[in-house]
Amino acid sequence: MAVFVLTACVQTAHKTTGTLKAGTENRRIVLMPVDIELSVLNAGGVTEPRADWTNSGREHVRAALSAHTSEFEAEIVVPENGDILDDLDKDQLQIVKLANAVGSSILVHEYVPIYALPTKKDGFDWTVGPDAKLLKEKYDADYALFVFLRDSYASSGRVAVILIGAIFGVGLQGGIQTGTATLVDLETGQVVWFNRLARASGDLRNPEAATETIKTLLTDFPT
């Protein structure tokens, strides 16, 4: 029920510095391991992470990402240990952490008007710094795509609370799907494209719905 009420909030609005600069023939994009967690929203509003859902969600998202990006005019690199960061060394891992931190900063400071930064008002200018080269060397790629997804689903108890709340005129939140996609130029560290997702629909437990999520998240990807 809440899902239908809140679908109106669905929106994505990407940010970009323009087109990708590398020539199409040697443009390689590495799909970084997806940071994903699926959880159940209990009656009282406590979210409980679900390992089984997360595992299948990750597989669906990875398959959807590979399929969707294969249509881009770029060579897609999928790391051998596609789901884990364990084969990265300490310094490479710091770049991944930094890229995630920059991604969440973009989300806050570019999309929430009251948090807009005075230093960032002239265009979209975010970077993880030149050490991004460490990942370039690691994966032999020109760009890295970082995808972050959180998806929660209302338990039957939560649905009941929402219904009771509705009787008393209280609006309560159901499950939500949020995500970000950050494309980083590994030569300069510059974030060349960013998009986010925040809506009360979608279901990463289901392969078709996961494909739709990736398609929506990567709308206007600069191919």
């Binding site: 940071d35 967690e37 959880s39 209990n42 009656a43 009282g44 509003g45 406590v46 409980e48 992470p49 679900r50 390992a51 089984d52 997360t54 595992n55 960061l85 300490k90 891992l93 710091q94 952490k97 108890g157 609370v161 009771i164 709340g165 008393f168 209280v170």
Partner: protein
């Protein structure tokens, strides 16, 4: 309407009172009974057990928790076991795996291989067959704490290593944390939080406004649950010390010292959040002291491991002592340094840091006090850091005693010719010479 509300209020207050009942001492003792380290309950005990069983809440025996009139049995994890994917435990483990990845490359992490190897060795000795399930990370945080995540990630803070005085005291803390892991306390707490909040959600919408009181009830219930987990983990700490041969009488001593530190603080906060989730240190000192004696009496030999412990910690602790200074908490740090001085093999270092406390506070008589402590440090056993002379120079300089300041700065550069601030100090010497 008013009458209806006040009766709801009464019910709610009754619930709050019930929530504050904890299993108390039974929680400490349960692991020890399971380990056959405590004598079978005396004649008075069954009554007490029966009373606990009637309570809404608490630990019935080592394997059973009563909660909300229902009974849960909790089984220990087998070594190497991961919870199966559809369980709440698995969800928590997976989240914590991600946190652990962050912790591994955290800026706070101390990745000194020798220190890590030593802590892993002690944790392994305590964890026994669960050695490979537990991973220790040393974090540079100047406070007494260690944490355990449900997936086996243990974090030990440097402020704890500064305060424990031998391997047995360290083992008591590590054993406590392993106890949290074996009993899957995080998962229990999560379940409890979900249940409490679910109840709260229905209660709030159904009573249309009494949610606030119900919230207090739910929170009280969770905190009481927490405190019993801490007690049970303390009991596990003693059990594991027994199994690994450490002197269980050492467990209570750390708490005794922490009470001294706390009481030294004239502005101590009685509403310390640590105390809401943990039993009072006085209770832990007392119960751990008594049970520690009882457990020790069942052991043919006990080990403290003081020399081995200090051999690892002493060369590393100057950095941790500097972190302690940065807290700018004069009274508690001063008390801590006094506690350390009581049996420290390197009093010169501690006396220097007592001097630093005064230099940094810089009240009326502090300059003289600082110089006195630096002097004591130079005459005491052990060795103070070479930057003692720099501090001394700074105090003299502040007092306008330029000749003495110059002399101290020169002594600093002589003691530490490769100092990273050599150029700055040379410049200061030059200015002092011409002033």
């Amino acid at each position: 309407m008013i009458r209806a509300r006040s009766s709801v209020g009464l019910v709610a207050s009754a619930l709050i009172l019930a929530a504050c009942q904890t299993a108390g001492r039974t929680a400490y003792e349960a692991p020890l009974r399971q380990g056959e380290l405590l004598d079978p309950p005396a004649a008075a005990q069954p009554q007490q057990a029966a009373r606990t069983a009637e309570a809404d809440f608490g630990l019935i025996d080592a394997d059973t928790i009563a909660h909300d009139g229902r009974y849960f049995r909790i089984s220990d994890l087998n070594p190497g076991e991961r919870p199966s994917a559809e369980t709440l435990e698995a969800g928590l483990w997976q989240s914590m795996d991600r946190v652990e990845q962050q912790a591994r490359t955290s800026g706070n992490r101390v990745d000194d291989p020798e220190l890590n190897a030593y802590l892993t060795e002690v944790a392994c000795r305590v964890a026994g067959p669960h050695c490979s399930d537990v991973r220790v990370y040393v974090m540079r945080v100047p406070a007494f704490n260690a944490t355990m995540a449900p997936n086996g990630m243990m974090q030990v803070w440097t402020g704890l290593l500064l305060r424990t005085r031998n391997e047995a005291q360290l083992a008591a803390v590590l054993g406590h944390e392993v106890g949290h892991f074996l009993r899957q306390h995080s998962a229990q707490r999560m379940k409890s939080a979900i249940e409490a909040s679910n109840f709260l959600a229905f209660f709030s919408v159904a009573t249309g406004g009494w949610g606030g009181l119900a919230g207090i009830f739910a929170q009280g219930q969770l905190l009481a649950f927490n405190r019993d987990h801490e007690r049970e983990a303390d009991g596990y700490g003693l059990l594991l010390m027994n199994r690994s041969g450490y002197d269980p009488r050492e467990a209570s001593l750390t708490w005794k010292n922490l009470i001294r530190e706390r009481d030294a603080n004239p502005e101590k906060d009685e509403r310390d959040p640590f105390l809401a989730t943990h039993p009072a240190p006085e209770e832990r000192t007392e119960v751990l002291g008594e049970l520690g004696m009882a457990v020790a009496s069942k052991m043919p030999t006990t080990e403290k491991g003081r020399d081995r412990f200090l051999e690892i910690m002493l060369p590393r602790r100057a950095a941790w002592l500097r972190d302690e200074l940065n807290l700018r908490s004069f009274h508690t740090s001063n008390e801590l340094f006094d506690i350390l001085l009581e049996d420290d093999p390197n009093p010169a270092e501690i006396l220097f840091f007592k001097g630093e406390l005064h230099r940094l506070r810089n009240d009326e008589d502090d300059a003289q006090m600082a110089l006195d402590f630096y002097g004591e440090a130079l005459n005491a056993a052990g060795s103070a850091p070479s930057y003692l002379h720099r501090s001394k120079g700074l105090v003299h300089n502040r007092r306008g005693d330029h000749a003495a300041a110059k002399e101290s700065f020169e002594a600093y550069l002589e003691a530490s010719p490769n100092a990273s601030d050599r150029l700055i100090v040379e410049d200061m010497i030059e200015r002092l010479a011409t002033s």
